[in-house]
């Protein structure tokens, strides 16, 4: 494609990148060098990397984000795959997105009602004589609700990539005597990888900075980097420290992006140049 058209696409997008991404990031980096009294300092970074609290928090965040992404993928991949073979698949897909239009806080409150001691699940268990279980404020409920929130964001890109699946290749693989599992592993999975990657990025990255449901459902037993930032911006008003954690998150995101970034791009690109 000609360079001139390329540039034309970049104008609105580039404008956005400069004003709404690069400018705020520069601002955040700038702020991360100021302490609570407005003096220029490196102490925020020093605190972050030397205090056990923040390191532990970082490890926790990454671990929970990983678990949440894993379960979200586990549920979403078959859903997206099966959806592809239903009648009216576009309609079903829209119906997957629809629940996300209900306010998050309201859904969290509904989950509180469902999970609580007097709530739906425990009344159900009560029918079988099982005593009320503590479900709220456990890792289970936190991961369950987090995964619930993220599932539509994972299904969508995977569904799109399944849609693009070349049925010919799938059939060819079957005709050549491959079992369903072999076909799935060696043909379908590699061909839907781009959707999985997009989904993982759309879920893992925001999961690092979850904050509200850590309190509502997790009872603040799970503290993520998002919680800490929230507190530094809204309670302590120590924007410097909050920004420092923000910078760490951004750097972590860059690392993830480069790790999941496509490697075999050069081949495709080489053809573009012709």
């Amino acid at each position: 494609m000609k360079k001139s058209t390329n540039a034309a696409y970049y104008i609105p997008y580039g404008f956005w990148l400069i004003f709404f991404v690069i400018a705020p990031v520069v601002l955040i980096i700038y702020q991360s060098f100021f302490d609570i009294n407005g003096h220029f300092t490196l102490s925020n970074y020093q605190t972050y990397f030397s205090s056990g609290t923040y390191i532990l928090m970082t490890v926790n965040s990454v671990w929970y984000a990983f678990v949440i992404t894993f379960f979200t993928l586990l549920v979403s991949y078959p859903t997206a795959y099966f959806l592809h073979y239903t009648k009216h698949k576009q309609l079903w897909l829209l119906l997957i997105i629809l629940p996300t239009w209900i306010n998050l806080l309201l859904k969290a409150y509904a989950f509180i009602g469902i999970f609580s001691q007097d709530g739906g699940i425990n009344s159900f268990l009560g029918l079988f004589g099982i005593p009320a279980q503590q479900i709220l404020f456990t890792d289970f409920s936190f991961i369950f609700v987090a995964a619930y929130i993220e599932i539509p964001f994972m299904i969508l890109p995977i569904f799109n990539s399944v849609e693009e699946l070349n049925e010919g290749l799938v059939n060819a693989s079957r005709d050549l005597g491959a079992s369903s599992w072999q076909t799935f592993r060696q043909v379908i999975v590699p061909m839907t990888m781009s959707g999985v990657k997009a989904g993982v990025q759309a879920v893992f990255i925001p999961s690092l900075s979850l904050f509200m449901i850590t309190r509502l459902i997790g009872g603040n037993r799970v503290i993520t980097l998002g919680t800490a930032i929230e507190e530094h911006f809204l309670t302590t008003m120590n924007w410097g420290m909050g920004s420092t954690i923000g910078v760490v998150l951004i750097v972590a995101m860059f690392i993830i992006m480069f790790l999941t970034g496509e490697r075999n791009h050069h081949r495709k690109e080489a053809r573009h140049e012709n």
Partner: protein, 279 residues
């Protein structure tokens, strides 16, 4: 083959039940005579009556929808162009850097985004209100659109483009007749995701709003201090049913049209490119 199909349907049914469980719970309680989302106490419509009498609430809902529709439209346009730009960039270092920049707004917690946008607007003397909220929503919705459209662009086979070019199509024709029809599902997903982000956002909107402009999320969060009013449940119920009807209705009109079109097309003998134009 048949039994296998049923298993997959069962799986989907379970997933749908899970996805709709909390929403059904919310809507059930919108008919409860009590004032909280616990202990259902008798059937009533009073929360709906209160809702329709609440002009302030109706105004907030309209404003919220307005911001969501406009911001996701603009974000979809800019994001799609951005994805096309990234897709045609040849150097992988540049691509990856731009993609990482793209994702910054997704990883940054809302409070940071909100606070830095606020500083940004006040520095530029942009008044807070509808305009600043709209701009912010466009800004934080763009990355998800890019993430939804880009995989579609990457899947598009080069041979298809080459074929179109060999048939003598101009760049403009290729874009409108080959690329766009192909990436339309990605664009739709992007739009819906952007719409979702806009409806759900609280923290960013809170910081950048002003002069009486309020969105539903901000109102709900502020009201949560006193415990969530069942009027809000009623509102969710109404919005949800409305959205459901809209989505189902739109889908059936759409498929009806398409099947008619498809019959029409079958009658005409058309080559691949001409075929694309009727879409």
């Amino acid at each position: 083959m048949k039994t296998k199909f049923k298993w997959s349907h069962l799986y989907l049914v379970i997933v749908f039940i899970l996805l709709y469980l909390p929403i059904m719970y919310l809507i059930t309680y919108s008919f409860s005579d009590g004032s909280r989302m616990t202990n259902f106490t008798g059937f009533t419509f009073k929360h709906y009556a209160a809702l329709f009498a609440d002009t302030r609430m109706i105004q907030i809902v309209i404003d919220t929808l307005l911001v969501a529709l406009l911001s996701s439209l603009v974000a979809t346009i800019i994001g799609t162009l951005g994805a096309m730009a990234i897709n045609t960039t040849s150097r992988s270092v540049v691509r990856n850097s731009v993609l990482s920049l793209n994702n910054i707004l997704m990883v940054s917690p809302d409070v940071i985004i909100g606070a830095s946008f606020l500083i940004f607007y006040t520095a530029l003397k942009i008044p807070l209100g509808f305009g600043s909220v709209l701009m912010s929503h466009i800004a934080f919705s763009i990355p998800i659109v890019v993430l939804m459209v880009l995989p579609k662009l990457q899947e598009m086979s080069q041979s298809m483009l080459d074929a179109a070019r060999d048939l003598g199509s101009t760049n403009g024709q290729i874009i409108s007749r080959v690329i766009f029809p192909f990436i339309t599902p990605g664009i739709f997903s992007g739009f819906f995701m952007a719409f979702t982000y806009s409806l759900d956002d609280f923290a960013v909107t809170f910081f950048v709003t002003g002069n009486g402009f309020q969105t539903l999320s901000v109102e709900i969060y502020a009201r949560a201090r006193q415990g969530i009013d069942l009027e809000i449940n009623a509102l969710s119920g109404v919005m949800f049913i409305f959205a459901l009807l809209l989505v189902v209705g739109y889908y059936f009109i759409q498929t009806n049209n398409q099947s008619r079109k498809a019959k029409h097309q079958a009658l005409e003998e058309s080559e691949a490119l001409a075929h694309e134009t009727t879409h």
